[in-house]
Amino acid sequence: MAELSLKKYEFSKGAKGATWACIFVGVIVFLLGLKGDAERTWHAYLMSYFYFLSLGLGGVFFAAINHVTSAGWSVSIRRIAEAFSAFVPIAMILTIPLLFGTEDLFKWFNAEYAANDYLISKKTAYLNPTFFYIRLVTFFAIWIFFAHKLRKNSLDQDKDGDPSKTSSNLTYSVLFLLAFALSYSLFSVDWMMSLEAHWFSTMFGVYTFAGLFQSVLAMLALFIIYLIKKGTLQGFVSQDHLHDVAKYMWAFTIFYAYIAFSQFMLIWYTNLPEETLFFMMRIKGDWFWVSMALIIFKFIVPFLALAPRAAKRNFAHVRNVAILILLTQVLDNFWLVYPNLSTDKVIFGYIEIGLFLGFLGAFLLVVHTFLAKHNVVAIKDPRLEEALHHHV
């Protein structure tokens, strides 16, 4: 085998400046928004916060499932997912401002309202601020602990190549996946479903998870393409890896549609007022077109666009589909949050865009800094050899 040497990834000054500019725009828009329309600003904040936290958690999740399955092919791209996971602690810090907006976001935060609303008064054992904060702290403690452990083992292995770190990560991954399934579902219930606390769906956690995994694979594909173009992954990641990531993306596009439809169909079929409420809000007025756009651009278009083998191996094509999926994931979060703020009319403007840019800047800054600081590939992983010979 020819000697491979790993090039260092350079996070250029210009790119770094651009991410800081985005963060700056985000902060300015956030402050202006709070002065102007605080309620809308909190909704915009929640939307982008949830989006990028999910991408960060998706990074941990991707690394964990590959550890659990002892996957060989993904070793050379795993470090990118680990870089995403570095955003989770930052997301925790970004939760703090949001805690000031809870009264504007969640009606049930108001004790008087919760006590007087019959349906919500029955849910106060779960839906009360104290328990909400306890859950929030617990979730972040779990996520940050496992994200840190998985990342640290992987980074330490770069130095000594100790294979026992791989088996240690296997244990952590199994525990993380169990904890993640429950914590992310409940986190979605807390921050997304309880925006309309009368409504409930037992599939909601799977729905947000489907979006999480679909979008994290799209982000992964974008980073792979970007780093290959930069020449950093030369010899470590090939077209075959991209093919498999695109295949994954395609599979979870179908998974998303399957889950979204299963949730909708059961509610449509049963036709109970407190369940149909959620979809009634989303087929009224302009929201109908947003719902249709989700079906078309989050499922049908990527499904057809990624079906042929040649499409999954074409860099420019996969890049375009990945961008489409990431944009529709924004639309999905928008669709989950905004009908609670504005019935009938779709509102979208500089507040939403500005805050999204702010979070995007923070996310990219964290990920690129991580990649520039560490090896872009887990170079001493015992299964790296397998990844280098990956062939589809």
Binding site: F261, F264, M265, W268, Y269, N271, A307, P308, R309, H391
Partner: protein, 177 residues
């Protein structure tokens, strides 16, 4: 069923040598030859110049047929031929579509899967009850390259010399494959 052909078979002791031999045979201008091995070998498709199979297209269009048939059939049975009022659900094609989707989905899968398997059988010339045997060891530890007489400008001597030049450990003429 294609008629049986004769030709020349060369044998190698491992898959790397076979892969290498296949590449060189393709480079030498052979197009009809085939490789036979106990297990699938990565890269062999490219080495022997095998084109992509048309099966994905069969799957896609069979799936599309299944989906269209499913939409029409569920609608026809529940809204046209024998109108059923189920819990006051609407009967119009668009209003009732969510209720039809599970059946549409199942029929898409059914049509696509059966058509794919069927197409695979036809394209492979299956079922073949008594396939001719070049060498029984191909199923356990020998790796074989077979050059058929249908090859352009074929002559048994030429093919034998070619396989010999590639380092085949054993060469034999096969009468009926």
């Amino acid at each position: 069923m294609a008629k049986r052909v004769s030709g020349v078979a060369g044998f190698w002791p491992d898959e790397y040598k076979l892969l290498d031999a296949a590449k060189k045979t393709y480079a030498a201008g052979y197009r009809q030859f085939d490789s036979l091995s106990p297990f699938p070998i990565h890269g062999m498709d490219d080495a022997t110049g095998i084109k992509r199979s048309p099966i994905p297209w069969v799957t896609f269009f069979a799936g599309l047929t299944g989906a269209s048939f499913g939409v029409w059939f569920t609608w026809w049975t529940s809204a046209v031929n024998y109108r059923l009022n189920v819990a006051g659900k609407p009967l119009g094609l668009l209003e009732a579509l969510p209720g039809y989707i599970p059946i549409v989905f199942e029929l898409t899968i059914l049509f696509a899967a059966l058509a794919s398997v069927g197409a695979m059988f036809i394209l492979n010339g299956l079922p073949k009850v008594d396939p001719p045997i070049i060498d029984p060891d191909i199923t356990s530890h020998k790796f074989c390259l077979f050059i058929p007489e249908t090859e352009d400008g074929y002559s048994a001597e030429k093919a034998e010399n070619h396989l010999k030049s590639l380092g085949a450990t054993e060469i034999k003429r096969v009468a009926e494959f």
